[in-house]
Symmetry: C2
Subunit: 197 residues, 2 copies
Amino acid sequence: MARTQGSHSGITGPRVRAAALSLFAQHGYAAVSMRQIAREVGVQAGALYNYTPDKQSLLFDLMKTHMDELLATRASLETPTSPVAALETFTRLHLRFHSERPDEVFIAYMELRNLSPDNFSEVEALRRAYEDQLEAILRAGVESGDFTVADPKITTMAVIAMLTGVNTWFREGGRLSLSEVEQIYWDMVRQAVGIAA
Amino acid sequence: MARTQGSHSGITGPRVRAAALSLFAQHGYAAVSMRQIAREVGVQAGALYNYTPDKQSLLFDLMKTHMDELLATRASLETPTSPVAALETFTRLHLRFHSERPDEVFIAYMELRNLSPDNFSEVEALRRAYEDQLEAILRAGVESGDFTVADPKITTMAVIAMLTGVNTWFREGGRLSLSEVEQIYWDMVRQAVGIAA
DNA sequence: GTCTATATGAAGATAGAC
DNA sequence: GTCTATCTTCATATAGAC
């Protein structure tokens, strides 16, 4: 791991981000030092500043990249026409995307308050755009008579909280497979929004 | 605020905990210094050590007290006999208790990783005991035929995540009152566990 | 019970050599 | 592109005076 001189590997940048991701998720942004990140990468602390202007930018990059990927993944799908199908697609994608990226998700939720005000606004806008997609699906389903939802805004928050919570307990190779978990959550979401069986 | 000498107010202890609560919730445990807490209280940093052996104990006290109060509040209620009533009681109490204590809840979820291993185990056991209460209610409802729940363990986690998520957006004096929010969430929980309307 | 002062260590970030 | 060395600031925690 530890190198002594000029690694020139050409992939130090990604390794810096990977180390920051893992360490921030494990110990928290404020508790992790640049020296710790450097040790994990195998360089001295000063060398990190070839790849990031400062620690804050490292955090922001991780969160922004995560949200961009989430929205890009959503955008790459064809939009189902029926509200029920759209909700199922949203539910399954959310579960799959989030369970595959536990560190990114953890950071995206836990470290918001450690973003500078400008960075916070930018990340928050992306999150809001994502929530709006679910809210639009719910409103369409109410409109069409498919869903029984008293307050689409609250249901949006409730469904996202419920789905994201999967990361607190789900582990690959545990009692249930991801596709079993997907099915169980989809059943709960379906019932929660009052889709007739 | 700032005192110069011997406050002798007799309530410095609670004020230290209150300051720690507010600052930890706002900036995170690792990002808050003892000096900041002292400034908020109006004493010098050294004086804090009359009230806590160290920073870690301050965090642990806040989390343990919070969980103890949650369990004590549950224990103080009469247990409804029907699973449906028990679930409604659980839901409403959870929402009320959590929405009244946003700082405590935030810390209880965000700062687990900053607890020492022993302290973590103790807090985790309390949380587990709370979750087990909901799981028992769900199992009873499945048994009695009142609920349609594929996997009580997952539903436990899903319901708790959904309910606790209320703290990310609910503010006293906002668009909806707490009792309206309670009703909407109870409707969603009811539907999610398949209670017939 | 609180103060001031301090021991000791570590943080983020930069400078200049190679 | 990375190293070593360093600037400057701040951290937790303790000691001893009042």
